[in-house]
Each structure stands twice: as structure tokens, then as C-alpha cells.
């Protein structure tokens, strides 16, 4: 065994995850190699020092009030929707934005709907590979169209907030939160399990629901 191989095996040795044959060969090498013995010692010292690190480190400032505020306000969304400050938008601009986004979102919805249908067919017969590729392509398409449309839609929706009834506002807010959370959970899961074949289609569905809902919300007439 040479030093390079030995250094690679040292990790397994100190982790107790080394096989019998390798251990034998490694110990033999260590007996005759000062440099590698030194490496082993360093490694063990490092792990001992790590073991002595404090398990708890209190944050420098008090964080609870921020947490409690977010929990009680129910304000627990990430992404674009998290920017909930009242933006002052001149009325004319809001109307123009609304008109533009209705046009935009019908295109977006059409793209996503078409994608939705395709995924249904794709998964129907061959049930596997083709469906997966189609589904992943749709997913990246859905994500990017959703990002673009979502920002515009949210702007228009924010502009209309004041003219909607509190009950409706709450329904839209609550459900946007539900979708955002669902999307986040699924994207996390997909990131950890990138080969998953079902998640892309569920995600496309969720993105589509979000666009649909934002479009609906932006179009609700006053007093709605």
C-alpha cells in the first residue's frame, strides 16, 4: 500500500468503517510510515477537538420575538409572496398592469395547461422514460413561466388589495400560502430525490393552480 491509498483509508479507519483486509494492509503500512502515522494522529486530534466543540451556541441577539411575530401574523411564506409591504402604485399603472397581466396569464395558463395535458398522455402508455423527460421539461418551463407571471400577478393583486373584502383577501392569502408551502415541500423533496418521476407532474399542477388563483384574484371586481 502506498501513502496515497493509506491517507484515503484513514477516514474509514477512524470512523470504524474499514473492512478487515484493508485494515490489515493499512496497519501494516502505518507501522512502517512515520508520515502517515502523523496524519493519523492529526486526524484523531481533529476529531477529538471537534468532539469538544460546544453543542449549543446561543444566538447573539434575542430571536423569539421575531419568530412569534411571524407565527401569530401567519406570515410564514417564502419567495416573492413574502414581500408584503404595501407598495404605492399609481392607479393608472395598476390598471395597465392588470390589463397586461390578464393577457400574459392567459398565455401562461395556456402553456401550462397544454403541458398538463401532455404529461397525462406521456404517462399513460409507456409509463416511464418518455413521461419523465416530458415531465421534467414541462417542470422547468412551468417554473420559469410561473416566476415571471407570479411577480406581475402579485403586483397587480397587491394593487387591488384595498378594494377586496377582508373575507376574500383572507381566502386568497391563506390559499396562496398553502400552495407556496406545497410547492416548497415538493421542490425540497425533488432536490433530495432528483430521479423521482412523480414529483415533476405534481409540481406542474401546483404551479398551474397558483397561476390560476392569482389570475382569479387579480380579476376579482371591487367589493369582491
Amino acid at each position: 500500500m502506498n501513502c496515497r491509498d493509506a491517507r484515503l483509508l484513514l477516514d474509514d479507519l477512524v470512523d470504524g468503517a474499514i473492512g478487515e483486509t484493508s485494515r490489515h494492509a493499512l496497519e501494516l503500512h502505518l507501522r512502517g510510515c512515520v508520515a502517515c502515522r502523523a496524519s493519523e494522529a492529526q486526524l484523531r486530534n481533529l476529531l477529538a477537538a471537534v468532539g469538544a466543540l460546544p453543542r449549543r451556541i446561543e444566538p447573539a441577539r434575542e430571536l423569539w420575538s421575531g419568530i412569534a411575530a411571524r407565527i401569530t401574523a401567519g406570515n410564514v411564506v417564502t419567495g416573492a409572496f413574502a414581500e408584503r409591504g404595501r407598495r404605492r402604485i399609481p392607479l393608472g399603472a395598476a390598471a395597465a398592469a392588470a390589463a397586461l397581466l390578464i393577457a400574459l396569464t392567459s398565455i401562461v395558463t395556456a402553456v401550462l395547461l397544454r403541458g398538463g395535458h401532455a404529461s397525462r398522455e406521456g404517462l399513460a402508455s409507456d409509463g416511464g422514460a418518455r413521461g419523465t423527460v416530458a415531465a421534467s421539461l414541462q417542470l422547468s418551463q412551468a417554473r420559469s413561466t410561473c416566476e415571471a407571471a407570479r411577480r406581475q400577478l402579485l403586483t397587480a393583486f397587491e394593487a387591488r388589495r384595498a378594494s377586496l373584502s377582508p373575507a376574500t383577501l383572507k381566502v386568497v392569502d391563506d390559499n396562496l400560502r398553502i400552495i407556496d408551502r406545497a410547492v416548497r415541500d415538493m421542490e425540497d423533496a425533488l432536490a433530495r430525490d432528483p430521479g423521482n418521476q412523480e414529483l415533476p407532474s405534481l409540481l406542474v399542477t401546483a404551479y398551474r393552480q397558483e397561476i390560476d388563483m392569482l389570475q382569479r384574484a387579480a380579476g376579482i371586481p371591487a367589493r369582491g
Binding site: 492529526q42 466543540l53 446561543e58 444566538p59 423569539w64 421575531g66 416548497r184 425540497d188 432536490a191
Partner: protein
């Protein structure tokens, strides 16, 4: 079942039923663990504080999924890793360059035991590791996770996880022995 765990179960149940005061008690007893993990995984104190808040808010949302099959802190730790890694994915583009000197000052107050100088150097050294290597190192050597668990949480292959650990340990040994 130790009295401590039994007591914890009651507090968790109360929090699951919506009692914010109980959740605050859970927060008080676990924030040090969560924050330490966030700090070491993120290598940046300001980000660690934000992440800590995100973790507890998320824990509140997901509290009903905790079924007592492990200690609350264990469940919370997994959730913390989850939050840290997803946050990292979301922020990757917007993340500003971290300047070591600025961000590690707060670590000076973190030392609680052992030789002060050594512990601080080690924390600094861990924070200076490249991100993936740092994540794997913290999860394996600080938190005690197996490579299989790390692989599942990070999306890396087991072999890649081992390679990152090897690299992290090598870099740390070099930093500490110089």
C-alpha cells in the same frame, strides 16, 4: 423513559395543540442546538440567525408531523438541516461573498469550554471550508450522522459524501497544524 423526556412530551403536545407559550419553552431549550448547527453549516452569523428563525417558524408549521418516534431535538435537527439546505439553494444566486473576518467575530463569544484559542480556530476553520465539504463535515463529524443519512438529506451520492468528508478533514488538518 426519563422524566425529562416525559415532560418534554407534554410540552410538545401542548404546542401541537396551538399553545404558543409551550412552543416558546421548546424554543428556549433547543435554540442553542439549532443555532449552533445553522452557524456551522452556514459559516455566517447573520445568516445563521435568520435561518434559526426560519427553522422555528417551519417547526411550528410542521409540528403536527412530529409523532414522538424520536426526541424532539432529533426531529428538530433534521428539520434544521432541511431548512438550511433549501435556503442555500434559494439564495445561491443572491448570496454575497462572505468575508471571513467580518462574519466570524460573533464566534468569539461562542466558546464555552476547552482551550479558547483552539476552539475558535477550529470554528473559523470549519466556516472557511467550501460549502459542500462544510455541510458534510458538520453533519458527519459534528452531528454524528452516517453517510447514508447525509446522502439522503443533501442529495449527494454516498461516495461523493465520503469524498467531501475526506477533503474537509484534510483541509482542516492543514489549517490547524500550520
Amino acid at each position: 423513559m426519563s422524566p425529562e423526556i416525559g415532560g418534554e412530551r407534554e410540552v410538545v403536545r401542548a404546542a401541537q395543540a396551538g399553545d404558543l407559550a409551550s412552543f416558546e419553552r421548546l424554543y428556549r431549550s433547543t435554540v442553542g442546538l439549532v443555532h449552533a448547527l445553522c452557524l456551522r453549516m452556514a459559516g455566517n452569523a447573520a445568516l445563521a440567525e435568520e435561518l434559526t428563525q426560519d427553522v422555528f417558524v417551519r417547526a411550528w408549521e410542521k409540528l403536527s408531523t412530529f409523532r414522538g418516534e424520536s426526541a424532539f431535538a432529533t426531529w428538530l435537527t433534521r428539520l434544521t438541516v432541511n431548512v438550511v439546505l433549501s435556503e442555500r439553494r434559494e439564495r445561491r444566486r443572491r448570496e454575497a461573498r462572505i468575508t471571513l473576518a467580518d462574519d466570524l467575530e460573533p464566534l468569539a463569544g461562542a466558546v464555552q469550554a476547552g482551550k479558547p484559542g483552539e476552539a475558535l480556530d477550529l470554528e473559523r476553520a470549519i466556516a472557511s471550508l467550501p460549502p459542500k465539504a462544510r455541510h458534510v463535515f458538520v453533519l458527519h463529524d459534528v452531528q454524528g450522522w452516517e453517510h447514508a443519512e447525509i446522502a439522503q438529506q443533501t442529495g449527494l451520492a454516498v461516495g461523493t459524501s465520503k469524498a467531501h468528508l475526506h477533503r474537509a478533514r484534510r483541509l482542516l488538518r492543514e489549517v490547524l497544524s500550520s
